[in-house]
Symmetry: C2
Subunit: 497 residues, 2 copies
Amino acid sequence: MSTATPSYDDLTGTWTRLHRLGHLQSIAGWDQASNMPPKGNEARAAAMAEMAALLHRMRTDPKLPDQMARAEQEPLSELQRANLREMHRQWRASNALPEALVQAQQMATSRCEHAWRTQRPANDWAGFVENLRPVLANARQEAELLSQLTGVRKYDAMMDRFEPGMRCEQVDQVFGEVRQWLPGLIRQVTERQAHEEVLQPQGPFPVAQQRALCEAVMKLVGFDFAGGRLDVSTHPFCGGVPEDVRMTTRFREDEFLGSLMGTVHETGHGRYEQNLPRELLGQPVAEARSMALHESQSLGFEMQLGSHPGFIQHLAPLVVQAFGEQPAFAPANLAKLLTRVKPGFIRVDADEVTYPAHIILRYEIEKLLIEGEIEIEDVPALWDARMHELLGLDTRGNFKDGPMQDVHWPEALFGYFPCYSLGAMYAAQWFAAMRRAMPDLDARIVRGELGAVFDWLRENIWSQASRWTTDELARRASGEPLNPAHFKAHLERRYLG
Amino acid sequence: MSTATPSYDDLTGTWTRLHRLGHLQSIAGWDQASNMPPKGNEARAAAMAEMAALLHRMRTDPKLPDQMARAEQEPLSELQRANLREMHRQWRASNALPEALVQAQQMATSRCEHAWRTQRPANDWAGFVENLRPVLANARQEAELLSQLTGVRKYDAMMDRFEPGMRCEQVDQVFGEVRQWLPGLIRQVTERQAHEEVLQPQGPFPVAQQRALCEAVMKLVGFDFAGGRLDVSTHPFCGGVPEDVRMTTRFREDEFLGSLMGTVHETGHGRYEQNLPRELLGQPVAEARSMALHESQSLGFEMQLGSHPGFIQHLAPLVVQAFGEQPAFAPANLAKLLTRVKPGFIRVDADEVTYPAHIILRYEIEKLLIEGEIEIEDVPALWDARMHELLGLDTRGNFKDGPMQDVHWPEALFGYFPCYSLGAMYAAQWFAAMRRAMPDLDARIVRGELGAVFDWLRENIWSQASRWTTDELARRASGEPLNPAHFKAHLERRYLG
């Protein structure tokens, strides 16, 4: 078979194989979290490490640089060029780090994460620090190497793994603005809500009914169950592959809203994956653009849409169907429950107004850690100072609800945290763009015509995958690059309007 | 690292990698049958085919013959020699067939099996023949190539894939004997049972209770749920990996004994896998010996133990616990239900007395097919003649309950069927050996001391894995090679005693 683009074709063949083998790795990872019995762990870890090494060898095949160089000279379409650009990005990321460092970090994170599971409930900060130290040391080495390779500063290089093109300069500016108005907004909203009467739902809420409710709401927001599932895991996530999306949630019998809205959140991730351009799957250009964009989908589903008073009118009957009538299930009361603002210690339990405070504080601290300007021992004091300043909370001595609460640092995911708040900002920006395109959007949501939202997202975000840089995608979708003013306007309208 | 056995060590390294990557393939296969939504199928098939090709390349690596030849000269222990022997066997099986034939057969079986799912309920024999023809043609080529390579006759070569060392000569002799006494025994037993009063359990039997019952009985027969699971699939099987055994069953609300005893059957497979020698897992010598030995475990659990009147005394209270009191759940009545003999069309529904008739008929037909002595068009007449002779049933025109009932031929598993009845015979032989070693075995089973059975199986079968040939294993375990007299004695004692 002879084509005009032989090198490009070789490359797409390699990435198709990576996609297929990665499929097995993804399903095994989902299974590990949702099905695997404890004695399977050692063999599973060995199997997945073997596959990881195999995938790494394929991504660092010495033939690739030459193939990519030759493909550059071939007559490629714009889409193929975008694909080649993304191949190059992935190849560079895989080749940047010596295998010894990758392995050392794998060992260090695995040990740190495993110990963290018991150290956190025991509030054992000293023990945690010992395990986190090698993780941070490896991460700093990694940042140094990536920085040398790409010419950006160290924390930028780490953040680039999750949010290509994002730089501290921009994050500092955006978060710096938020810092100005957030504490005041939180104060205003909590004062205003202090006088609200809110009814609490009365449990228990049997797991079978909760599961049925979650599945009904997933259908309401368009999840395709012919191409995915909902299961249970300790830490909810959206995994699997675009062709077979595996979402997980967790249930507790005394409370259902957390699990329900968590499921709506993950469904945003899931629909992004389910609607990536099918004919290109396996190629880098068909992958989700970035983690901030991914979070813009999950937070778009959970916050922009899921807590929208019009949407809640359609959610309430499903809740009643699951658990029977309760005064607390009246739409107006459900809306109050879903927009309750209360500063708290725990990021994953935070409402959308206080959430950015948790992110800003982590961002400021992990940037200093990676850049080598502070050590782990300095974290608790900084944490406490920021929690005071941003949320008015005292965290002294409470490590387990403080810097030990997240799995991100034990897993060396330095640079990930900003994506959550950038995602919330992009989500507000998408909905603002939708309202400009469809001035009756809110009325449509009230009428349950959610297709208006999903069609816009499919056309502007999902189907575009990695064709453009994040900036270009944002411009094409909304007419402007990241603009946090939409997020502020959203919060003010919803919480002070 | 320098050792006295560098080539042997290289080989064990290769097989460890095969084991690890095969782990992902097994889990993905289980997931495909028990979890996967329909739209995931295409991507899953592509992923598993990619992995199959990768594993095949590893098993046919041109370095292997030389490594094996050099390993032969190294100072190996007896166990290592056994491992090398099994490596050689696997290598030969993988290398015997040209990749084009393997791929052609994969395509043909995939098409045939897929069409069979609708052709069987439609009784569409003509359509089925068209799809089975290329499957048989490929299988004959495969048999011819394997026969040339190993010097045994063609059907022997096919059977050797499942039951190493078994030959038509022995099967003919064993099945020939059974043919002599089986029709008479069936007549005697059915006449005797005609006068028995048997109470039928009254449904419905809710799925949740059935599942709880199955899990309780699995625990009773020693399944380790810390290293395995029970799930649901259309066709029950025992899959996964030895470190994480994935068993499946299926439930219908109007009947529970089929699913329950099917689960006991699969648990026999599961415990064999769970108790293979752990320190050698990944090496061929640590794999289950053969399919007849595997079936000897499942049928040992289901028939020898599971339908033992002493065992049923412990089963009955669990049934009552699941569904409440019923006269039909009295141990004596349950025993009658589990030993009811009735000639029927369907192999998988057959009792242990008529079952061998189904196997003998399939064996005789598929041997002629593979040896080229008949064509597919000749099958229905032969089938009908054998069903008449062995079970007194008329099958003319009823293809769906006749030669179209099994998935084995669409999947080209020619040579597998004999393993079922050989397994039933080995199972009887093991229990006879146990009774010689423990004259109070039946009293122990009555007392619920099932450990006596499991300890014997662990010591004599499970822990021995593939260390010995089947013949040698049988001699070591029971003092003699395969001896079908034990099977006959078992049936006579249970059904005429």
